[in-house]
Each structure stands twice: as C-alpha cells, then as structure tokens.
C-alpha cells in the first residue's frame, strides 16, 4: 500500500491529519457532538443545537479555517521545496533559499515599524507587506543573477544568500530601533499573523492555487532539468522558460504561505527528501506527494504546537524542527544503502 500506491497512502495520511486537526484543540468537543455539528452545518440535518454556542464559533470560525490555512501552507512549502531542490539540483535548497523569507520579514517589519494602518483596502497590511516584500526580493535576486539570456543557478543561489543577509540585517536593525513594535515583529516572524477565520484563507488561496498549479505542471520539466541545463536544452526543453516558470510559481506560493503563517522551517527541506527516499525521484510524482506530505506534516506539527503546552501555543517552526530532524535522520540511516543525490 505504502510503496505501491503513494497517492492513496499520502491522501490517507492527510485525511487522518485533517480529522485530528479538526477534532483536537485546546477546548474539548466530544466527537459525537462534533459529528452532529458538522452534519447540521453541511447537510442541514440535525436534531437542533444542544451544544454551547461557543462550540460553533470554535469549530467553524477558528478550527476549520485554521486547519485549511495550515493545509494550504504545508502543501505550498512541501511543493516549492521539492521544486527548488530539483531546479537547483541542490539537496539543501528550501523554499526560502533565494530570499522569500528575508524579504517577507523585511516587508512585515517595515509595515510594523512604519505604523502602517492595519488594513489596506480590506487586506491586512502586515501580511500584504510580507507577501510583496517576499516577491520583490525574489525578483531582485532573479534580475541580479541574469547575465544576458542565461540564468546560472549557482549565481542565483549566491545572490539569494547575499540579498537575504542584507535584508535580514536591515530587518534586525529596524527591529532594534523600534522597541514599541518589536514584540509584534517577533511574534510575526515566529508565527505569522494572528489573524483568524476565513479571510486569510481566502486571501492567500488564489496565489497558492495558481502557484501550486504551476509547480504541479512542471514535474516533467524538472525531471529533464536533472540532466543539467545543457542536456535539457539538447532534449528540446525550453530551459529558460521552464526555470522562469518554476521560480515564479515557487516564489508566489512561498510568499503567500509566509504572509500569514510566518517563516516555518524544515517542512520545505525535509518533506521532499522523505518523499524522494520512499517513492523515488520522479518530479511528476514528487511534487504532488511533497504537497500532500507537507500538508500532513504541518498539520501534525501544528496540532502538537497547539496541544502540548495548551493553552500556550508554541511557534510551529519549533515543532517542525524538533520532530522533523530526528525523523529525517532515522530515514536517512534506513536508506543509506540506496542511491541518493
């Protein structure tokens, strides 16, 4: 099952994680009540509400939209991590490699220290600034790395590292200069926006879905790119356009994920490797599996972050690294006889 039907297996894991994420929270809602609440909301059927009014708000306005946001974010990180590792042919690549995270951080801190209004035309200004900052930074890195018609990936990585260092330094400086907003900035960088409910989901979903569709379509191109750009070109792949599409799609996806969820490490790095170790290196399969796996991993991490120290909520990045690193090391040892990178 696990080996032969990777999609079914991953879908099953994901459904299990979604159910857990909806069923478990710091407030206990009995499973039977939960089922009746869902039945009433979805089917319109039910024997009337005999549960506290707060349960409905908790389930439908907090838990389910939160689960949806985490699911989308995990898929975004897993998918774009796999795509970047394939594009850069570098096992250490993660979705933040070429500056999305540092740019988003700078955008958010600029919005906070500049005391921008909380909303711009209905959109929360901090996530919007983070999204724009992330995209702008990637575009800067991209345009700095282009030499004529070619885009050497090594230059891209190095430019990304340099720009990230620079923007992070500016971010740190701004944070130290602005004591008033420091707490908010830290909270955002660790955990994203505290915004709750459906609006964040609807705000990021279009970007995430467009970006993820782009990534899903690029599986074959990524496979061909594994031969190196020269061979890919000789095989007839439009290399420049393929790279551009992958970078744009992955950046759009990551920037949207970062805007509301902050910078979450490890998912985008480790999940693609886990998928690769178990199901092999075919990007047409690896990208969608990494998305499913990313969602599952982030949902479970988020659940742990919400439950372990309840009512304290841990930044989810702490959980992803705490749980992800040992699991990944174990898997590496299991797979050490097999070919890898």
């Amino acid at each position: 099952m696990l080996q032969r039907h990777p999609f079914l297996a991953n879908l099953a894991f994901l459904i299990f994680a979604v159910i857990l994420s909806i069923a478990v929270g710091s407030v206990f809602i009995p499973p039977e009540t939960l089922a009746r609440m869902l039945a009433e909301r979805v089917l319109g059927a039910g024997s009337g509400a005999d549960w506290p009014a707060s349960f409905a708000a908790i389930l439908f306005d907090v838990r389910i939209p939160h689960t949806a946001l985490v699911l989308l974010t995990g898929a975004a990180l897993g998918g774009s991590g796999a795509a970047y590792q394939g594009l850069f042919r570098n096992p250490l690549a993660d979705p933040y490699l070429i500056g999305v995270a540092s740019g988003a951080g700078l955008g958010a801190v600029l919005a906070l220290t500049g005391r921008w209004p909380v909303t711009w035309g209905g959109y929360l200004s901090v996530p919007a600034a983070a999204f724009l900052g992330g995209l702008a930074t990637v575009l800067l890195v991209y345009s700095l790395s282009r030499t004529g018609r070619t885009l050497p990936v090594t230059t891209l990585i190095l430019a990304g590292v340099a720009i990230s260092a620079f923007t992070s330094a500016v971010t740190s400086y701004l944070m130290l200069r602005s004591e008033d907003e420091l707490r908010r900035a830290i909270a955002w960088l660790l955990g994203g926006s505290p915004a709750a409910g459906w609006p964040p989901v609807f705000a990021v979903a279009p970007y995430l879905l467009v970006g993820m569709a782009g990534l899903l379509s690029a599986g074959h191109a990524l496979n061909v790119l594994q031969f190196g750009e020269e061979q890919a070109g000789q095989l007839g792949l439009p290399v420049g356009r393929a790279k551009g599409l992958i970078i744009v799609a992955a950046s759009l996806t990551t920037a949207a994920a970062v805007a509301f969820s902050g910078i979450i490490g490890f998912i985008g790095l480790v999940v693609p490797h886990i998928v690769r170790l178990v199901w092999g290196e075919d990007y047409r399969r690896l990208i969608p599996l990494a998305m499913l796996g990313g969602s599952t991993a982030l949902l479970l991490s988020d659940l742990a972050a919400r439950v372990v120290l309840a009512p304290q909520t841990l930044p989810v990045g702490i959980v992803t690294a705490l749980a992800g690193a040992p699991f990944f090391l174990w898997l590496l040892r299991q797979a050490r006889r097999r070919a890898y990178w």
Binding site: A165, A169, P311
Partner: protein, 326 residues
C-alpha cells in the same frame, strides 16, 4: 512580562534570520507612546448601555456592565481586580500573575505571542480587555469572531492611570469603587510628592533592566514611565541622557557616570545579588556599590502600567530618600 523570555525570543528570531550582526541580549520593554484616547463619557447607571472610546479610537458599546471578562495583559488584570471586578475576570493571559486570585481565572495563553482563541471563545466572554501590547491584527481577529474588544491604552502619566481606573470601573459596573480607588491613588501620589519635595539630595539612579551582558546592560532612557517615576520619586535617571527609550549603556559610561543608587530590575528573574554587581570588573568603585545602595527591585511595580505603579513610586521614593519616610 518576563524579560528573560522575551530576550530568548529576540535571540531566536535573530538566529532565524541569520542576521549578520553580533547577537546581544535585548530587552523588549513595554510599549509606550500610544495616543491616548480612552475617556469615560458617562458613568452610566447599570441597565443603560455603556458607550466608551477605547485606545484605538473605536467606539465600544456594552449593553450592560461586563460580567465575563478576559484580560489580555497583566496591567489590565491588576486594574480589574483593584476596582473590585476580580470575580468577573473569567480568563487572563499567561503573564497575569497578580493578585494571586487572578491565577484561578483560565489561562488563555499569549506566552509566545499567540492567544489560544479556542479557549478564549469557550469562556464565552462579553468583554475582552486588550492592551497596546496586543497586535492590532489580533484585536481585529477577535472582533471578527463576534467578541467585544476594548483596548485600554498604556498610561503616560498618572492622570492617564486614574482615567484607566475609571474606564475599568465603567466597563465593569464598579463605578463607585473605581472612583474611590482613583481618589486613593491620587492622594498617595500627592503624599509622596509632598514628602519628596523636602528632599535635599537628588540621587543619580541607574535602573538595570537586563544585565545578561554586564558590559552593556539595558536600561531605561528618556520618556518611559520608569523615567517619570524616578524623577517623581526625587531621583535622577542616569539613562535619561540616552537617545532611545530603551537602550544599552556601556559599562565604561556607567562607571564614569557613577550612580548613587543601582536598582536591579532584573533581579526577580535572574537571581542577581548586590554581591554579583559589586564583583563585576570596575563596578567596585561606583558610589552605589561602595555605599551599599544596590537594591533588587520588583520590576513589575514600574513596568506594568496598572495601579501598582503607585506602589512602585512609593517604593522608589523610600529607597531614594529613606530619611523622609521614617
């Protein structure tokens, strides 16, 4: 607020961003400088709707005094208990640890910057008393969930504090208690001022916020409530010459400035003793160390913008001018 914890947070973030600067301990003090907008428009009789403008400038309407309150900041919790509305507090943030009775209210988190919305909703509150330290997005998110959120602004001076007391009283139907408390606080402050006016000396005071790095301890600069309190208590804030409200001072400058009194605001969580301070290289020559005027000081008395600020003022005045309080 636990400064040690916040220091850790700052460090984690700096690590996270892999910033290219030497990482140093940073204290992240309470925000100041918010515009003050809360005004009790009417001390209404119980059944009439209560309409008040909060710290954001938003007009908040309560149909009746709040009976189930969640407080999102320690200062708010202290204020609510001080006006006699402690029994109406059903939930509180993790840092609200005073008075002890507050601990029996449900903890709704906030320790890592995130509030546990589920638990908060399950308390079914009719008022969420927020503060300047809470992110505006957080307030907005809670309002979107149908909750009534009132932001109590940070006081910049004692007049603001009295007003917050009255607002807290109006929101909770404790108007009379609040008036009495405000009057009491006012007279205690006046008494301190009266006493201190007779002082013949103005000791130079170094307020140590966080000395994890003893070569560059954090202190409070001009414009903070602590700075104001030190002045009112008849002292001179050594940090007032600094540029920023919260800043690091080099040990060299500190020793050269030679404070008469050192207040260890970080003693509560760091366990520092006057002996530790005296043992720091070069600090032995400071007048405060020589004369034994290095004191552990409960930072919560001056950093939480609640009614205990008056306790803080009294404590400071007694430390600065013990001869006037015999």
């Amino acid at each position: 607020m636990n400064r040690k914890f916040r220091t850790t947070l700052v460090l984690s973030v700096i690590f996270l961003l892999s910033a290219c600067r030497p990482a140093g301990p940073a204290a992240t003090p309470e925000p100041v400088g918010a515009t003050r907008a809360a005004t009790a428009t009417e001390a209404a009789p119980e059944p009439v709707a209560i309409v008040l403008t909060d710290g954001r400038g938003a007009e908040i309407t309560l149909d009746a005094p709040a009976g189930r309150i969640v407080s999102l900041a320690p200062s708010n919790t202290e204020l609510l208990f001080a006006v006699g509305a402690g029994a109406q507090v059903v939930g509180r943030d993790s840092f609200s640890d005073y008075p002890e009775a507050a601990l029996s209210a449900t903890d709704i988190g906030g320790g890592f910057g995130e509030i546990d919305t589920e638990t908060l909703l399950s308390l079914d509150p009719d008022l969420v008393l927020s503060a300047d330290i809470i992110a505006p997005e957080q307030n907005e998110a809670l309002e979107r969930l149908g909750l009534t959120v009132f932001v109590l602004p940070n006081p910049l001076e004692f007049a603001d504090l009295y007003e917050n007391v009255l607002v807290a009283g109006a929101l909770t139907g404790r108007t009379a208690e609040a008036k009495a408390l405000a009057a009491d606080l006012q007279s205690r402050v006046a008494a301190v001022m009266q006493n201190v006016s007779a002082a013949e000396t103005t000791p130079l005071v170094f307020y140590q916020l966080d000395s994890t790095d003893p070569n560059a301890p954090w202190t409070t600069g001009p414009g903070t409530f602590i700075d104001t309190l030190i002045k009112m208590a008849g002292g001179e804030n050594l940090g007032a010459v600094l540029m920023e409200p919260w800043a690091q001072i080099s040990a060299e400058d500190l020793i050269a400035s030679d404070p008469d009194i050192i207040l260890m605001g970080d003693a509560v969580w760091s366990g520092l003793t006057p002996e530790d301070v005296a043992a720091r290289p070069g600090w032995g020559a400071i007048t405060a160390v020589v004369t034994g005027r290095v004191y552990a000081f409960d930072d919560n008395l001056v950093s939480r913008p609640g009614p205990r600020l008056v306790d803080g003022l009294e404590a400071l005045a007694q430390l600065f001018h013990p001869e006037l309080f015999e």
